[in-house]
Amino acid sequence: MGERLEDVRRLFFNWEVMTATFPELLREGLPNTLMVSFGAISIGIVFGMLVALMGISHRWYLKVPAKVYIDIFRGLPAVLTIVLVGLGLPAAGIRPWGREARIAAAVALGAIATAYIAEIFRAGIQSIDKGQMEASRSVGMTYLQAMWLVIIPQAVRRVFPPLTNEAIAIIKDSSLIFVIGLSIGQRDLFRVGQNIAQQSGNYSAVTAAALYYLAITIPLTYLVNWLDTRLREGPKEALPADDLPATAEPGR
């Protein structure tokens, strides 16, 4: 058993290999991973909101395309979506971003994020009491005004935790973009680590990359949690007394 553990340490947690890998990961991998991920998340938030609004519409020509879109892009393996966007679109003569694999990757991951985030926003919007829409309409707001000014701000606040989940999923999925081909300078964290692992024959370089992923995702989680609390409760001094009865039922 001890020997096996030693094997694991030697193959995956070789500190020498890891420290030798950190600078290149920081220089090339990290900026590319961040660019692709946050590009994708931005696309996902903008189009996710649009698709969510289409999805809750009562007009079939808005609702049906939204549902179909969500079904397809939520169901496809991420790798396939990346290949279809990165290699399939150019094959069809559609090449708005030339040969820049990172933009293709951001668009592909953004298309996936759109589907998931649309569902998150839909859940958020539908969780807001119907009475709020009725009240807003009764004071003379149009449907879109009521949505934009009353419902959506509350809905977005409510779905912060699942949105963070999705952002983390996208950051991790960005490790798949190698499938459409990366040249030196375009490589993401995973690919840089993998490259060094191939040269050294030791997988610790990829473990080193994994630490960078944690260094992005863990602070992101706590930042969003802090923001979430702050948006719900306001600044600390304005905290109301905790008047919620402790009724958590065991076993539920």
Binding site: R99, I180, L182, S183, N195, A197, Q199
Partner: protein, 296 residues
């Protein structure tokens, strides 16, 4: 509440049944394989009295091969590299596959292929997941630092494939081109060393992605092992092989560092296979042209 508990109980019971069923299946499979192997050995001994001595030697060798599981030689390979190793109709096929099966047969062990990514093969071998790696793997000093290589079993050079209408005629035209390669291959190393910075080397995880990118115009050329390049060029109307580059490449079978018993057994068997012209038979099944001199 009662109802819900029943549901959970039922679900757990169903799951347990499923797991049990699967486990049983596996156990059966293993038994069957064992039986088969035993039967084969028995038959051989009964029928070929003359060869009984040979048989005994072989069996002894089997015990000493240092395999993770007795009688089964687990071979790691990236089964996406036609014509060396690929999957067709759910079966492993190719030159490497035939050669490895021949070696296994002569050593009296069952060869079991495990499909994995090319770039993790050696790490997995090192970690004990395979007994050997046979995957059109070029013998390099760098790789020899983590694994032991058999004697060379194939001589392969690199080649460049382009779109037939591209006007690119050879490696002298590469200035400013994007050249696709398969990551972690000798072709990738060669291209990076010799074509950068005149050209940009774009790495792909596998050959399907690299050639798809070539056909969809995301790269201008693919630089890869000659047999793979000619296979792809022949199978396509739009692709053309325009250059062969002699890199003195030789493929070897990799075993875990220090597994001398297995390495010696493989080397001896390889020599046998070359000597009795079985090599030639396998070679001509997958490649055109003459067998290179060293393997005649």
């Amino acid at each position: 509440m009662q109802l819900r508990r029943w549901w959970i109980l039922a679900a757990v019971a169903a799951l347990a049944l499923l797991v049990a069923a699967c486990a049983e299946d596996d156990a059966d499979d293993v038994d069957e394989v064992d039986d088969e192997v035993e039967e084969e050995v028995d038959e051989d001994v009964d029928v070929d009295d003359d060869e009984e001595v040979d048989e005994e030697v072989d069996e002894e060798a089997v015990d000493d091969l240092g395999l993770a599981e007795e009688g089964v030689l687990v071979a790691g390979s990236d089964l996406d590299f036609e014509p060396f190793e690929f999957i067709e109709d759910g079966e492993e096929k190719g030159f490497d596959v035939d050669l490895m099966n021949e070696i296994g047969e002569r050593l009296g062990v069952e060869v079991e292929f495990v499909n994995s990514g090319f770039d993790t093969l050696l790490t997995q071998l090192d970690g004990g997941e395979f007994d050997v790696v046979i995957s059109a793997l070029t013998i390099t000093e760098e790789r020899a630092e983590t694994v032991d290589f058999s004697d060379p079993y194939f001589a392969a050079n690199q080649a460049m494939v382009v779109q037939a209408d591209s006007g690119i005629t050879g490696v002298e035209d590469i200035e400013g081109l994007d050249i696709g390669v398969q990551a972690a291959t000798t072709g990738a190393d060669y291209a990076t060393e010799n074509f950068e910075p005149d050209a940009t080397v774009v790495e792909f995880p596998g050959t399907p992605e690299a050639f798809t990118a070539l056909e969809s115009d995301q790269v201008d050329a693919v630089f890869i092992d000659l047999p793979v390049a000619s296979e792809q060029a022949e199978g396509s109307d739009t692709l053309e092989l325009v250059a062969e580059v002699d890199t003195d490449e030789e493929y070897g079978i990799a075993v875990q560092m220090g597994n001398a018993a297995l390495l010696d057994a493989i080397n001896a068997t390889l020599a046998e296979i070359v000597e009795d012209s079985t090599y030639e038979t396998i070679y001509s099944e997958w490649f055109e042209g003459d067998v290179p001199e060293q393997f005649q």
